[in-house]
Symmetry: C2
Subunit: 382 residues, 2 copies
């Protein structure tokens, strides 16, 4: 029995993770779950799974306590997460929330030599240089479908044999749209992802292809592979989740149906594989898999983000902050779709380069990025 603690249990990934646990009751036990604002969902999780720990924002603690059984200790997720993780001592902690809030708990667990699964790109990017160091990688299982695919393709292989990591990109909803129409893209248009059902932020990041640049950064840190050896290829069907090309010209690909259930299930069962409850891919039904080179002109966010990422240091938390605010402002109809890369570029270049520093420094830089991005957006609106 593996004891599992879910950070971000109330989001779309959390729901899939809970289904994996439910489908494998004999193997996985939920010993803790956290939410942020969505106390209703967390209450229903507590009622169903009765975990010993449930974390939520402070203001929702009383209503949680009123609605959960006495078996569940309700705690302030902003203040006490690391402390509770120490007490609960899970076999595996999955970070499924977004944002850099989780960085402290990730760092704490890795320092304690504890195994984590991570779907939180922001933490990997902003905290990459500080937290995701070579010596910690053995305890990290990626959950995003692309790095999970790479992780699986690397099983039984030597890192020295890797020639390239090839990250697949669906191309998002606008792959075939004419560039001239891009300024008129609405949030409703951008929220229609062709293959994946995901949260709003990541769906917009897929539409701008910022997401693919973020996954390249993520893979750079999670697999300790230089940026020159990581590429993206557009693969419209999202059946191949990523590939590893070896020095000898052989290429391994990992495929599954497009549901985050699969990488979540893998992260929980690793180093074993369980029997899935949601069925298998049928290649003959799939019919075809198509590939195209990246279009860097129509999707400028990709190159802008990678340019800064390669500089490292404070660029990494600034990128996270800038994209977060740009996407939020687009969703609030304050800026155009085509302003997103502009805001990212202006935000990061408005701050002089410096090294990343401590976790506190990273958090400060991130906050600075938020303010800078908001200022730039204010100027666009004026």
């Amino acid at each position: 029995m593996k004891n599992i603690f879910l950070i971000g249990a109330t989001g779309s990934l959390g729901r899939e993770a809970l289904k994996v646990i439910e489908d494998n009751k004999d193997k996985f036990l939920l010993i803790g779950a956290t939410g942020y604002n969505n106390y209703k969902e967390l209450i229903s999780i507590c009622r169903k799974f009765n975990p010993p720990y449930a974390g939520i924002r402070r203001e929702f603690i009383p209503i949680m306590k009123d609605n959960c059984s006495g078996d569940t200790a309700v705690f302030d997720v902003d203040k006490r997460l690391s402390e509770i993780l120490e007490e609960a001592d899970p076999d595996l902690t999955l970070f499924l929330s977004s944002g850099i809030n989780a960085a402290k708990a990730v760092k704490y667990l890795l320092n304690k030599d504890k195994r984590i699964g991570i779907a939180n790109k922001e933490t990997v990017i902003a905290g990459g240089e500080l937290i995701f160091k070579k010596e910690n990688l053995k305890n990290i299982i990626p959950i995003d479908s692309e790095p999970s695919a790479i992780f699986q393709c690397l099983l039984g292989e030597n890192k020295e044999s890797v020639n390239r990591l090839i990250i697949t990109a669906s191309g998002g909803p606008f792959w075939e749209k004419r560039e001239a129409e891009f300024p008129f893209i609405t949030p409703e248009d951008a929220l229609k992802h062709p293959n994946w059902k995901m949260g709003k932020k990541i769906t917009i990041d897929s539409a701008t292809m910022a997401n693919k640049a973020f996954e390249i950064i993520e893979s750079h840190f999670l697999f300790d592979i230089p940026y020159e050896k990581i590429e993206a290829v557009v693969h419209r069907e999202s059946i191949i989740h990523s590939l590893v090309e070896f020095t000898d010209g052989n290429v391994k690909a990992l495929m599954s149906k497009t549901r985050m259930y699969y990488p979540l299930q893998f992260a929980m069962s690793y180093p074993e594989r369980v029997k899935t409850h949601i069925g298998y891919l049928n290649l003959a039904d799939t019919g075809k898999l198509t590939f195209y080179p990246m279009d860097r002109k129509k999707f400028p966010a990709f190159d802008i983000i990678l340019h800064f990422a390669k500089e490292g240091g404070n660029r990494l938390p600034l990128l996270v902050a800038a994209d977060e605010i740009a996407v939020e402002s687009f969703l609030e109809r304050k800026i155009k779709f085509t302003d997103i890369p502009y805001v990212i570029e202006k935000t990061v270049s408005s701050v002089p380069f410096s090294e990343g520093g401590s976790l506190e420094d990273i958090e400060e830089t991130y906050k600075l990025g938020i303010i800078k991005a908001e200022n730039i957006i204010r100027r666009i609106i004026l």
Copy 2:
């Protein structure tokens, strides 16, 4: 430095293997090569690589001796192969010839706990039950592109996690041909394989899709996986060489450009991977990969062969003999393309079932199959 002995160095696979050795002079050393009738090619191999041993049919020994340097000991490949292999003691012996002649040497090396690479389907099929036993598999590296792909996909994985092996089939030159035209197929038509340059026998086996059934049998023995868990899917481009579906719904695929150089290079370098000299696959250039279910009606050899293979015993050497004679007779224009599956079916069912027995028994059954098949063909011609 790895000492390599090539059985069947003068065929199309042999030429690719020699190119791998030439491209990696610092890693691989040719210490022996055998041919059968093609003494001219073997002489040029001896002149270029100067191996300590060269094996050929008895009648060509004098001409070989006259044309090779005194450094190379020329031997009778039919009589002395096992003995020479003992003397030469190679790190790796690659069986690249076709036919069941090599079975004795394969058995000898596996009994001595020596590592072999095998592209010789006939030996694996006919000798599967006797030679390719579970305890020997650790010393066997497959070379056919399909089982090589599966071998690579299984690295770092547990056999218990395998749900299905999925063998890809190009569909051959007649995938889109109307069934009504099949009786009029000529050897010239059938020798035009869309993706691979191979020997004549295997090219015809690809056209009838007998080859795919043989690869399923091969995979059954080489990976100790039951027939129910092995399937074929048509994949026209031959870029994905095969796939492994795991119990958790994740699927690993192995790809490369369509050249036997890649699996040969892998077999020689395993457990390491070298840097290839012949370039990398470009997925965006490839454009698309297509998949279709097998067409068992148009290609009846597939089901006929698998039906008998599952019975095991003497069916296995009989299948090898029947297909060999059927293909040969088709190439000699004695029978029609559509007679090939008929000859296989009639040959095998003309002999009562018995267990496989010893190597001598297998060779006897094989010879019986040759005679039976020839008789059946004589009756067709009459």
